[in-house]
């Protein structure tokens, strides 16, 4: 069973429907035990990181999240869920994240080449490393993004794919061991997005050591 973590950060219906279209039942939950028991965990979210962290703390989800990642459960972060994984964010004058990966989250510079903030729409994703979730997905495929902040992993080994916006080349897919995280929304990225979700559902959480 897949657990989609509900911490009150945005609407999770489209994430659940994405899995449903693949014939996979996903449970939207904030129950610690359900999360710890899940075969796979999806950590989505939209909105502000500060209030999201508060809600995660309020629901006492920090430890269960660390536990599932530590025990090797395949874990997928999406959008805000991806940003929260890092140590800190510049949002709201500086917010501490979950620190599951080293790195920070930064704000796009406004006006860079006339770029609007937030970035809304389909942008191409350049694959930098092989990964089981990319199986059958062409390099340069376009995915749907909605965000004003972007992740900056401290360890470049964790950058699985990159995308360009507002003069920045940022990490649009990040991964380490059983954790993979996308800045875009696979559940709203048409067939290529569904392919990524399907790959995630087939993934055992292991990656081969490649350089």
């Amino acid at each position: 069973m897949i657990a989609i973590i509900d911490y009150g950060a945005g609407n999770l219906t489209s994430v659940r429907l994405g899995f449903e279209r693949l014939g996979i039942i996903a449970l939207i939950t904030s129950d610690r035990f359900a999360i710890l028991d899940a075969e796979r965990v999806v950590f989505p979210g939209v909105g502000a990181i500060g209030s999201a962290m508060k809600r995660i703390m309020g629901l006492q989800l920090i430890e269960p999240l660390r536990d599932v990642v530590a025990r090797g459960t395949p874990f997928l972060g999406i959008c805000l869920g991806t940003q929260i994984i890092f140590e800190r964010s510049d949002e709201d004058g500086g917010i501490e994240g979950l620190g599951l990966l080293p790195g920070a989250v930064k704000l796009f510079r406004r006006g860079e080449g006339g770029a609007k903030i937030p970035q809304i729409g389909w942008n191409d994703v350049k694959l930098k490393r092989e990964h089981p979730v990319f199986k059958g997905i062409k390099d340069g495929s376009e995915f749907y993004f909605v965000h004003s902040y972007y992740p900056v992993p401290a360890d470049k080994q964790h950058v699985l794919a990159e995308t360009e916006y507002a003069g920045e080349k940022f990490a649009s897919v990040i991964g380490k061991d059983n954790l993979v995280a996308t800045q875009f929304h696979p559940e709203r990225s048409g067939k290529v997005g569904l392919k990524l979700l399907e790959n995630f559902c087939r993934w055992d959480g292991k990656v081969q050591a490649t350089c």
Binding site: S14, P118, W122
Partner: protein, 259 residues
């Protein structure tokens, strides 16, 4: 590179897609969910549904339609028409829509934008505006006045002043639907689109007037639009989305060509 979005618009009346000029002479075109699936398969980047009678008749949007659409297509879509409260927004979002579009009720109660953005995030809140050209430059420095209730009512609000205020309140995107060009299929109103786009920091979606692919080229290049809504040009069956996109690509405009 971020691509320019092509967004088919479905005007809904009694669970049917209709199309009319300036909200009059409406013709039934088909079932909204079936049409959404067709345009999704044809490679549209997003969809928007307007329940064109909900606002006037004080009833809420057809939630079953939103739910069925969300099950059937996996691209983002916005829903508008008669949304006047956080409860209305919540119902539509929980049914699977990505965004809500507010127009008349945001003019009547601008706090609706702020409350929606706080509750669901700015990216969910789209402001639709229906500006009409005016000669009264003293009262309307931008040259455009905001109308509401499907163009039927003038508001006394200057178009530029209103969008800047709405941006400050937290809306994440603006749909600029020109009253003067809507439904005429003679091209978008470039000057209006450009003025709004250059004066806000959030994405601007052009709407009203597309009749042929080159109209989209113009609104992207000269109007600085980030996305374009199309309706009649598609519904009439004269042009398909792949055709429009390849024309845009021919002019060097970044569009999503694989889906």
């Amino acid at each position: 590179m971020l691509t320019k979005r092509i967004i088919p618009c479905l005007d809904i009346r009694d669970r049917k897609v209709t199309k009319g000029v300036r909200f009059r002479d409406n013709v039934v075109l088909g079932d909204p969910v079936e049409m959404a699936i067709r345009y999704y398969e044809d490679g549209c980047d997003e969809l928007v549904f307007y329940d064109i009678t909900a606002s006037a008749e004080h009833r809420s949007i057809d939630i079953d339609m939103v739910r069925e659409t969300a099950r059937s297509v996996s691209i983002p879509f916005a829903v508008g028409g008669g949304i006047s409260s956080i409860e209305d927004m919540s119902r539509v979002l929980l049914a699977g829509a990505e965004k809500i579009s507010v127009n008349t009720f945001a003019v009547e109660n601008p706090q609706l934008i702020a409350e929606g953005a706080r509750e669901f995030g700015s990216q969910c809140i789209v402001l639709g505006i229906d500006p009409v050209r005016t000669e009264d430059s003293l009262k309307f420095p931008s040259g455009y006045e905001i109308t509401v209730r499907g163009f039927r009512q003038r508001t006394g609000l200057d178009a530029l002043e209103w969008v800047k205020r709405a941006e400050g309140l937290g809306c994440g995107e603006i749909v600029v639907n020109s009253v003067d060009t809507d439904g005429a299929r003679e091209g978008y109103e470039i000057q209006l689109t450009r003025m709004i786009s250059k004066n806000v920091g959030i994405p601007v979606v052009a709407s009203g007037g597309a009749g042929k692919p080159v109209d989209l080229v113009k609104v992207f290049v000269e109007g600085y639009a980030d996305a374009a809504i199309i309706a009649g040009i598609l519904h009439a069956g004269k042009y398909g989305i792949p055709e429009i996109k390849s024309e845009l690509a021919r002019f060097g405009i970044p569009v999503r060509l694989n889906w």
